[in-house]
Amino acid sequence: MIMKRFLGLLPAFALAALPTAAMAEPIKIGFVTTLTTGAAVIGKDQQNAVELALDHMGRKMGGRDVIIVYGDDEFNPQKGKQKTEKLVKRDNVDIVAGYIWSHVLLASKATVLDAGKILISANAGPSPLAGKSCHKNFFNISWQNDQTPMALGEVLNRKGVKSLYIMAPNYAAGKNMVAGVERTFKGEIVGKDMTKWPTQIDWAAEMTKAKAAKPDAVFTFYPGKHGPAFIKQYQQAGLTGKIPLYTVYTIDSIGLPRMQKAGLKGVLGTFMTQFWAPDMDNAQNHRFVADFKQRHGRYPSFYAAQAYDSMFFIKAAVDEVKGNIADTDGMRAALEKADFPSIRGAFTMGKNHFPVQNFYLREVVTDADGNWTTALREAVLTNHVDPYAKDCKM
């Protein structure tokens, strides 16, 4: 068995010695996301978007075929790290992308970066990686966690909200969101409930408190399955229509169809901020959204949008180095240039390898076909640089 492997390796050694011959080999991209557990809907959305992107580009980058290898992090940092190790050491991928969750990304990044490979986050944007621990081979194609809630704080100011009640889960992302809003919101915070995560899905007590505090608005962040549950209870507590609800990452295209089926009218007309919405007006986005809808029967979520962008982001760089993905320096320079068609229109990559982009106000509306979706309103933050960029010494 071992002998066979040795013999099998010999021609590979020979081939590796000839760069041109090696270039005929396919490019391997490792993509880590969540494909099992309750959060798998997000991972599947990303997977669908990645496949769509690859189909749109003819499954080729820089003239070479592309093979994508998925790793399931099972929503667990240790498992995520293990899968990352497998991708890097066993599957020998050329580049690693993905990562929905900050804790999985933080656990796994050393494996990729220490091996000298490039790592691209298609969702997680924890502050250490934007600031203190930024790395030349790490890129983020989504946003930094604090930015979206900072935009929301701005929205609250613009809408003349003077008193705010906050409800968020008591874990890292929840605290980041709250901190983000507090950075920009100028009014008074009349109440803050950080609830037990992920076990608490009944907010009766907190909503009673919110009602009693009579704020101008309520801000909340409850990702995943908690979002629809929260909206439901908000409606049942009689708060819908009484106290305006502002959210981030709580209502998205994954949860909206379910909310529509369950008749949660309370979600219509609520506001949130994001860097993108399905109705953003550029050619790349129109093609993406239309084809995604056709294939999967609903609008793509922002997770999907980011995953889609990550593929074209990589492709532009691979095209630039003419397929020689092993040229890490060349790849890095190309990625920093970030000259690719993004679903958000014109794109700029920041010095700390996080995007410099606009954040928009979004509203939940009904589209022409009667489906609930989110629509862009005005830009709230333009060409925004995340607050940690100054700590990055690149």
Partner: protein
């Protein structure tokens, strides 16, 4: 902080307590009578939720959903008992914990295979939606009042069953001395299956009640299971009365803690510390309560008299 707020939070605490009771009752019965630690009890809560959601969606009727969901959950409970749990009665608690832990993994994956990945949502029936004024300026959601009412009805029914019927007498006897009951000619196997089925239905019913509020999702059982265990330990294992009292106490302390702890803390700590300590403490509150109870009464508050 006013009286209306306190009153509403007390109602919330009561509702939460009733929910815990529905789960704890089945758990304590099974443990008390069959000496079986069943970690998969939360899985019946989950299965009940999913089955109800399916029937509700199919028939469009909330009550039909429950009416059909209950026998379906009973079936699941009985099949599980016959297939997987019978061999465990003779084993020690550790084996039971481990085996039922394996069952949890199985059930969690099962619902992801049979039902949509992100669970099932059901709308709130219109006649149960909204809030009512129940005097003194208190406005409270109708549905939650319904939960409190149903829970109390079930509690009353259980009390009647256990204290006033022959079956209840056999159950109580079984909790005290299983072997004697067997020796006296009662079909122990049947009794166990019945009790287990009853426990599963109670858990499933709790799941059904919560589905319009929370949605049915994989893994929803674990979250509430630990709390149910805490309740039966505080109440005394094997005692339904203990489970009821412990559940209400736990529900009230958890809810009131979440509501007023930050205010209390602000009175004694600087703002930063209070803000950090608040959520941490309120998560730990129930556990602290359990430890405190066990410290003074290591068998819980109302342990049934054994033998």
């Amino acid at each position: 902080m006013n009286l209306v707020l306190i009153a509403e939070q007390t109602l919330n605490g009561l509702q939460f307590g009733i929910l815990l009771f529905l789960l704890a009752a089945g758990l304590t019965l099974v443990f008390g009578i069959m000496d079986l630690v069943n970690l998969a009890h939360g899985s019946f809560y989950m299965m009940g939720a999913f089955l109800f959601a399916t029937f509700y969606t199919l028939t469009g009727s909330f009550f039909l959903g429950i009416a059909l969901g209950i026998p379906a959950t009973l079936a699941v409970g009985v099949v599980t008992e016959v297939l997987a749990l019978r061999p465990l009665y003779a084993r020690n608690h550790l084996d039971q914990v481990l085996a039922t832990f394996g069952l949890i993994l199985f059930f969690n994956q099962l619902v992801q295979v049979i039902w949509p990945l992100d669970g099932m949502s059901v709308p709130m029936p219109a006649y149960l939606d909204g809030a009512v004024r129940i005097g003194f300026g208190i406005e409270y959601p109708v549905y939650r009042i319904m939960i409190i009412g149903s829970g109390l009805a079930v509690a009353a029914g259980l009390y009647f069953l256990v204290q006033r019927t022959r079956l209840g007498m056999v159950i109580r006897a079984g909790a005290s001395n299983r072997t004697m009951v067997g020796a006296l000619g009662v079909d122990i196997k049947l009794l166990f299956t019945l009790v287990f089925g009853l426990g599963a239905v109670l858990a499933g019913f709790a799941g059904m009640l919560m589905t319009p509020i929370l949605s049915a999702t994989s893994g929803m059982g674990e979250q509430i299971l630990i709390l149910a265990f805490v309740v039966i330990v505080i109440g005394g294992i094997g005692s339904i009365r203990g489970a009821f009292i412990a559940a209400i106490i736990t529900g009230l302390i958890d809810t009131l803690g979440r509501s007023f702890l930050d205010v209390l803390l602000l009175a004694v700590l600087p703002a930063n510390a209070a803000e950090a300590a608040g959520p941490a403490l309120s998560s730990m509150l129930i556990y602290i309560l359990m430890v405190a109870v066990l410290f003074f009464r290591p068998q819980g508050l109302f342990p049934p008299k054994v033998r």
